[in-house]
Symmetry: C2
Subunit: 317 residues, 2 copies
């Protein structure tokens, strides 16, 4: 069984996190991943702060194993959520879309492991300075908000720059990419897109069907012109968004208005013309629905198998 320092730090069996996807990652999905030995994460983006509290409590009913909360720091209720995780005794927090600087001292004092998502070396260094426990280096292969660098180039640069445990995210789908991440120097992986088709994931059936149908070039990045690049499936909505960005007669405000609420329209309504179906480049590899535990095990068992064969490449050593 694959074991890495992040397992000891967090008290988990398998060095795999489930991405804390906004409006998607709830108690049911997170608990299923944690029960399978990985780290489930609940998103702070639910229907309000109290809804997050309810999900944390539900997750605790479903599993005694560690799970965490992903806090989107750009959200209006970020400060409330920052309090909430302390109140609720959450042990692990991942952060994205903003700096955890206003909260991190308090979290660390409360014994919370703080693991920011980073997309560049400069940001990794800043997080190290703030006292982060570990980092998730996320390449722009990922679904949702993306940076400039991709996993193959990003992870080694972050690993070289900071003396912290680094997990790899973006482009991780199965044992092969997980094993590749370890070769790059990561001590674990975070997987988002593949968990979208987990039986325990509540996204709309249309969302799941589109992921299973997606080809290798089934995703695109929009929002760069707004300084807010996002990877999603190439749906009518995403194509329209891109057309609006390319049209000089459409203002940034109009484009933002078009995008408002689009993630919920995808997740809850399966609305292809109004919804943003966030997904990573690995969408093309998704073939079937399966339980979250089967996904965790396929990735980790697969990685073990691939890593065990690594020596076969080396002759005469």
């Amino acid at each position: 069984m694959i074991h890495s320092p992040i397992c000891n730090i967090l008290g988990i069996e398998k060095p795999i996190f489930q991405g804390g996807m906004a409006w998607i990652a709830d108690a049911r999905l997170a608990a299923a991943v944690s029960e399978a030995g990985g780290l489930g994460l609940i998103s702070s983006i639910q229907a309000g702060t109290e809804a997050v509290r309810a999900e944390i409590r539900k997750a605790r009913e479903r599993t005694e194993k560690p799970f965490g909360v992903n806090i989107m720091l750009a959200a209006p209720n970020a400060a409330e959520i920052a309090d909430l995780v302390v109140e609720e005794g959450v042990r692990i927090v991942t952060t994205g879309a903003g700096s955890p600087a206003p909260y991190i001292e308090r979290w660390l004092a409360a014994g919370i492991c703080v693991i920011p998502v980073v997309a560049s070396v400069a940001y990794a260094l800043k997080m190290k300075e703030l006292g982060a426990t570990a980092l998730i280096a996320e390449g722009a292969e990922s679904g949702g908000h993306v940076g400039e660098l991709h996993t193959m180039a990003l992870v080694p640069q972050v690993v070289d720059a900071v003396d912290l445990p680094v997990l790899a995210a973006g482009g991780i789908f199965d044992g092969r990419s997980a094993a590749a991440a370890f070769m790059l120097g990561a001590c674990g992986v975070q997987v988002g897109t593949r968990f979208l088709v987990a039986d325990e994931c509540h996204v709309h059936e249309v969302y799941k069907a589109r992921l299973i149908k997606a080809s290798d070039i089934g995703t695109m990045v929009t929002g760069k012109s707004l300084g807010d690049a996002v990877r999603s499936l190439k749906t009518p909505f995403a194509k329209q968004f891109a057309r609006m960005e390319a049209d000089p007669s459409v203002s940034a405000d109009e484009i933002r208005a078009f995008g408002t609420g689009s993630l919920r329209k995808a997740v809850f309504d399966g609305d292809l013309s109004g919804g943003s179906f966030l997904a990573g480049e690995v969408a093309g590899l998704i073939r079937k629905r399966e339980p979250a535990a089967a996904i965790v095990n396929d990735i980790m068992d697969g990685a073990e198998k691939v890593l065990a064969q690594a020596n076969n490449l080396i002759y005469g050593s």
Copy 2:
């Protein structure tokens, strides 16, 4: 020593190709890589067809080991080059920027191994059907012309789709990324950017200095609006190109005119305001000039070391 099927097919010692970079990859660089046990490639983009012939002959004087020619099929003299490689008895051809369909039968009949660069599953399948010997799956981390997918997601999808040896390109810099490529199912790697600072590489000193200075986020992609996406260093030229693309008052023809000859201005003149300094995302990892052989050995020895440690991750197996 790492050995893979591509070594046997091509008669090379080490499963590493040097990218056949336009205006850059000449006899000196290619022969140095081949002498080090990898596969050197001469670009078909030189000062005319006869210049390519001269480079092939020069390479043969410098090494008795296999080397190849990379043919840019969109170039006006592609048909001439297609003849030339047969006339000159070249044994290995890699192709990019277009389909080798008009030439491949003749090449294969002449005993040439044909290895197209692919950026998607559909193109990989097409190349397999044409009779390609192997494929290079190139992720958009690479310098120069880029597709939509990145290495971590692209390589496994190409490996799953075609029953051919697949090399990985894009984001490959050292032993870590080479080992990662093997984990993804590749049987070899192609490296471009890092060879730009090789002692045997003739690019302008300013080009080399900029690569050594580049940070992790030192590259950008331009040309998407023209259907011709290219990754290069973030120079004044590249930023101006991007501004022109974003400006609705600038026509596509004006942008193309601005870009004409820009690669040569970078390679030969080190012209930061007029030159396109093509480079991949790994530019941020480049720290020093060194001989091509040192690069080959660092990557392959590093990969061997990293792969040999893979078992350390697995406890109790």
